[in-house]
């Protein structure tokens, strides 16, 4: 029982991130409205970014900006004092790509609305079948 509590305390963060990802995945599959699907896609993307950034956290580490960095090369830098900056770099790209994808997805939704006059998926499919 003791190490079950230990395991839960060490890992509960990951479980909450997985819950967020599954909320986004459910919205993308099961919702009828197109804008709700796009909101679900963005929730999924930010949850994955959260998961990646959390793999770089170190207990006792500080921000990835070198202190006393201006003049002196005289300080020895230990890698264990700073948190891992590599996931941050990759996730900066991911955030900017997600906003680009959001722009294109909303443009597509506006075009679909102009053509079919509704944004509900079942009504769009019914109109396509009638043509």
């Amino acid at each position: 029982m003791g190490d079950l509590i230990q395991a839960i305390v060490a890992k509960y963060n990951y479980w909450i991130y997985i819950t967020l990802m599954m909320i986004g995945l459910y919205a993308m599959i099961a919702k009828n409205n197109l804008v709700k699907k796009i909101v679900g896609m963005n929730i999924f993307q930010t949850a994955i970014i959260l998961f990646y950034v959390s793999t770089g956290v170190k207990r006792g580490g500080t921000l990835p900006i070198i202190e006393h960095g201006h003049g002196g090369h005289s300080h020895v830098i230990h890698a264990a004092d700073y948190i891992n900056p590599l996931p941050h770099v990759l996730m900066l790209t991911a955030i900017v790509v997600s906003v680009a994808t959001l722009g294109v997805a909303l443009a597509l939704a506006i075009r679909i609305y102009n053509r079919y006059n509704t944004l509900e998926e079942d009504e769009i499919l019914a109109q396509i079948r009638e043509e």
């Binding site: 963060n13 909101v39 930010t46 500080t62 955030i95 609305y113």
Partner: protein, 81 residues
């Protein structure tokens, strides 16, 4: 890392995320999505990822929410589900 703060913000994020996909008004969903982005920014600031938090605050809680509201304005606002 202060764990009660972390747990509180994570619970709020899950609640706001479920709310953003459940409300029947699309403008409300867009605003709740902006709140969700801002909570994510707070989480990353707590973890020490300040560059990522800055980008998410400006992109997610700023420009993304504006795009959503503009698209909802151009299409319809009510939804049945």
């Amino acid at each position: 890392m202060v764990w009660p703060l972390d747990l509180a913000i994570l619970t709020l994020v899950v609640i706001v995320g479920i709310g953003a996909i459940t409300v029947k008004d699309l403008l409300g969903a867009a605003i709740l999505f902006g709140a969700y982005s801002f909570m994510m920014c707070l989480l990353w600031s707590i973890m020490g990822a300040v560059d990522v938090a800055f980008t998410e605050a400006s992109v997610g809680a700023g420009v993304s929410t504006v795009f959503f509201v503009a698209a909802v304005f151009r299409t319809s606002r009510r939804t049945k589900d």
